[in-house]
Amino acid sequence: MRRDGGGRIDRSRVLRFRFDGQEYTGHPGDTLASALLANGVRQVATSVRLGRPRGVFAAGGEEPNAVVQIEEPFPEPMLTATTVELYDGLVARSLAGQGRLAAGPDPARYDAVHAHCDVLVVGAGPAGLAAARAAAATGARVILADDQPEPGGGLLGSRDEVDGVPGAEWAAATAAHLEEQPEVRVLRRTTVFGYYDDNYLVAVERRTNHLGAAAPAHVARERVWRIRARRVVLATGAHERPIAFAGNDLPGVMLAGAARTYATRYGVLPGRRAVVFAANDGAYAAALDLADAGVDVAAVVDPRPAAGELVAARLRERGVELLAGHVVTAARGDGQVSSVEVSPVSSGGVSSIDADLLLVSGGWNPVVHLFSQSGGTLRYDEAIGTLVPDASTQAVEAAGAARGVFALPGCLADGTGAGARAASASRAASASRPVEAPRAEETPEAAPLAYWLVPADDYTGHFVDLQRDVTVADVHRATGAGLRSVEHVKRYTTAGTAHDQGKTSGLLTSAVVAQALGVPVAELGTTTFRAPYQPVSFAALAGRDRGALHDPVRVTALHEWHVANGALFENVGQWKRPWYYPRPGEDMEAAVLRECAAAREGVAAMDASTLGKIDVIGPDAGEFLDRLYTNLMSSLKVGSIRYGVMCRPDGMVFDDGTVIRVADDHFLVTTTTGNAAAVLDWMEEWLQTEWPWLRVHLTSVTEQWATVALVGPGSREVLAGLAPGLAVGVDDFPFMTWREAEVAGVPARVCRISFSGELAFEINVTSWDGLRLWTEIMDTGLVTPYGTETMHVLRAEKGYPIVGQDTDGTVTPQDLGMSWVVSKKKPDFVGKRSFSRADTMRTDRKQLVGLLPEDPEVLLPEGTHLVSTGTLPEPPVPMLGHVTSSYRSAALGRTFALALVRGGQGRHGERLYAPVGDTLVPVTVTSHVLYDPEGARRDG
């Protein structure tokens, strides 16, 4: 229920929300959990396996129980009610273990940002604030990140004072002071969730969640911060630890510090009459604060023989009974706590105390998750019965409760020291004065006891992992089955694998295992801490790399024309290439047949700008290319062009393209579209790492040039019209040469090469002029634009292979019927040695052939396999090869295919069968060159 006053909530404003169908109200500053408690809602979830009622257990992100489904403004699964800031119009419901995804797309924006700092401080509790303050005082670049909406950490939930003012006030003032400094960034609502190599940390900032439906659409809802920090201070605080006893999962059982936070920070009393079960003095502060806030504290039950004198005295002052040397053996109640059974540690007598609230504190576990993720090792500290940071492997240190320093003055001093050290270590020279630590009252404490498990005969009601419904009995079954490692126990019981990743239960589980096996907890350790520290939405991690921005779309200088003229596009690597240009009423087949006919009978043009282009310059350029291509390039004459193939050292075809000799010391190499970057990298690798003495420089000029392929018997005439100054006759401009000329009024390099078998020219102009050239060509009214599909048909008719389509990384040039491109003269080139390996010498390798289906109408699907028999035997059926390319050819008046076939070069004329669906299609093997094998057409 809500207290009359107090708390850091704005009582002047009322927020309306719904939970499990009921209307409730709360205030700004509330979390969903505090608002539910204020409204007296006890059960907030149902347990996953056993279907038991569960209530709010903690007050922060470590919450194991109160996992809810957000339904509105937009469905979001499994958020902890303790971290959901209340907003108007929130609709949520309780869950039984599984969340629900929205059926439609998420309209919100997400983004990421890179940040750099000298000192990253994680956590803005007293230790973190002190650290940031000390670091900032040196002028260092500081980032302070905290997952709460306001800084202060534990101070927000206590009545402690710092430097003589209430802790929360001090925190707010300190944060404001920090924010005034130009090189300090304070990130609120920001969870650092991963700690990676070289002090790379990632955090997620929740920027608009708390605004509900009022969140502005143009602001990213969540932002991932990618932070490189020179030094890191982890001031992440500590999580309170539960104790296992019967019924410890009932609503009403709550961590002591959480109850105190609800009372102090949220002005909510989580119950009326409380029993406190604790084995450390710190929890007494919770008892005292609750008592002062109006909770009837029936008793404090402490397994230690005695509590600290100071806290004991304070209890006495308020008339609260202290049952030292006692334990809680059970929480009882129907659906929530109604009574608590208490027994002396030494003897059996049980007494029962009426209460609706049972506050538990088995001690505190420093939040070592990020430290462990950083590669730091942990050490079991016997005095406080928990794991603390030990040796670090990166530039990081923990401070305050995160290091096991729990008293406030210690936290402040620890943070101050860590911040100052981090700042000075991160900068070359720092000449600033050390700042003094803020002051707080020292409270003497008695030694805590690491108390885990209340002994019993039956452990089926002692829960360790509330969210995964794992009991001590389950753990004992695992150890009983022979398991010895906490990792095995985790996987056998599922303890620690839920939404909370065992934040409150992990060490408790280890302790139970240790006890069962009779080994020290220190030896057993815990399971591995992994990122993310708190669950992070997929969308936040995807950021803006989605949709059109998912992967760059690369376009040529002519792209706008292709779009405007109805091209359909094919993705080739990152490029968009025109696939074909359907006219109204045309399907792909009709369009491609038309485009092919234009190229074979008239004039057609293609945008070939995507081919990779590399300038190879230097006195040794020829020799360099000789080493990489299978054929000889150094003998190429200036003004001429040669086709070449590159292999990997294993002898398999890697890329192909043309090489033109621009000058004695200057070649221009073209690569396939998809391989442009890979080929340049490949060349640089050989040049820099193997042959650094070769005097060669490589420069990518792919986008410098727009390239138009002008193809067809009429292409000469069209070119002549556009380039009056260029002699285009066969003798003036022979095949495989190039010329410089003005085409359409712009300077161009024109190459006479052909990938179609027809007379063709490739016109290269700067990409600025590409559109201009293309438009001029189209404006002649004589030229049909064609796309990649037509290009594929034309080249396949000629038997020109496409790397990646007719090859798959297991094909040599010889397999492609291109022994002619493999130099016999050169002593060596990359790949040569592999041609004489046993496997590459086989005569029954798969080789490129043509296939003619006996029925000239039948089009073989690409990917179809070939068999030798007219009926299929039982599987496995021996396969001879497969169809790599298959088209309907206007020029041939029939269908045809290219295939890689075992021993194919010796099979010309043979009949094979292609299983297509349920039929076996008879095909005849032929040469892979089907169109104009004499090469009569290339000169027009």
Binding site: D197, D681, E684, Q688, T689, P692, S834
Partner: protein, 92 residues
């Protein structure tokens, strides 16, 4: 994400680099003189130590230079970088 100190550009994000595997595997002087076994070793066999590894990186999104690094594959710690042609430093 590693922060890799390019010998020219200084520390840059791992994503800017291209990994090149083991360093100091020279292309054989005369491949034709090698047995199939020897050639196979060159093609396919690379050290794969757990510990300090001399490896190649190319700063492909930066200065496009290949260089070598000594990195501990058990910890990811980079002990040093050196340029192609420079001798492998003694690991600290």
């Amino acid at each position: 994400m590693l922060l890799i100190p390019c010998p020219w550009c200084g520390p840059r994000e791992e994503a800017e680099f291209h990994y090149g595997g083991q360093a100091h595997v020279a292309y054989p002087e005369d491949p034709a003189a090698l047995s199939d076994e020897e050639w196979a070793r060159y093609l396919f066999f690379r050290d794969n130590p757990k510990g300090v590894f001399a490896e190649r990186w190319s700063h492909s999104a930066g200065c496009r230079r290949w260089f070598n690094a000594l990195r501990d594959t058990a910890t990811n710690q980079i002990h040093g970088v050196y340029r192609v042609g420079e001798p492998r430093p003694v690991a600290s």
